[in-house]
Symmetry: C2
Subunit: 168 residues, 2 copies
Amino acid sequence: MTISMYEASVPVFSARLKALSTILAAAEKNAAERKIDPQVLVTARLTPDMYALARQVQIATDHAKGAPSRLAGRDVPKYEDNEATFAELQARIEKTLSYLATFKAADIDGSDDKTIQLKLGGHDMSLSGLRYLLDVAMPNFYFHVTTAYDILRHNGVPLGKAMFLGAR
Amino acid sequence: MTISMYEASVPVFSARLKALSTILAAAEKNAAERKIDPQVLVTARLTPDMYALARQVQIATDHAKGAPSRLAGRDVPKYEDNEATFAELQARIEKTLSYLATFKAADIDGSDDKTIQLKLGGHDMSLSGLRYLLDVAMPNFYFHVTTAYDILRHNGVPLGKAMFLGAR
């Protein structure tokens, strides 16, 4: 198998979102074991001006649905961004995984030089599909998945990096 | 420009390491401003059984030097792993950036199907260059760069995600 825009995007997002789902399930179970209200974890953050766990999961899935859509020239599906429980976050991940499964390699391969226009953090950006995937979507995606993990570890949830790396 | 094993590795590692360097410089400056011993930040961690900042930077650079080396069939340069100050961590990043600059696209392109054998976390692994890059090296690399950022944010260092995304 050779690298391609599809290989470098859809399976990567899917593998990491499955790992995130496993991590959230472990956190919910741990909250029950420690008799902690699960909402304490869902709303936990590393510092007051960083996003809480739920928002980290929302943004990670935003990039996972946004990047393949833009590369394939589809409209990005809109989510309501109202998830407030572990069950709702899991449903959002599941919905994103199902959406990712609708992409075939041919939908995305060849988008390397395609001009991608998007608004991110209030800025209008125009860049190639390759630069968008490698410099914008992927670092943002990994940032939010890792920060979700870090929030939970900081709050005493027993997770290991093997869980983050996950299986494909 | 089209995606390739080189494009998906060397420039990605370099861009993120430059961002990490900027982040560490901001942290050192902030420690001085707050009259905090910089070693407090260098040895900070999110929870007792996670690595401290210095080790996060070491492991991030391990993946950044290891992945291109293995894909190109070079020996991985050995570092002494004894960095204990911001200056030493910056030197390690600088050394890794210089090493990354020695790779040409032709050294790495075509390694998609090459068999990569490595020991990671005590396990012997054998997998294709593509799977190694996308499923092992890149998630590990992003995990440790993001966790370095998260440790500093948790300790009150004013950083923004734009700094993490950096410029190329």
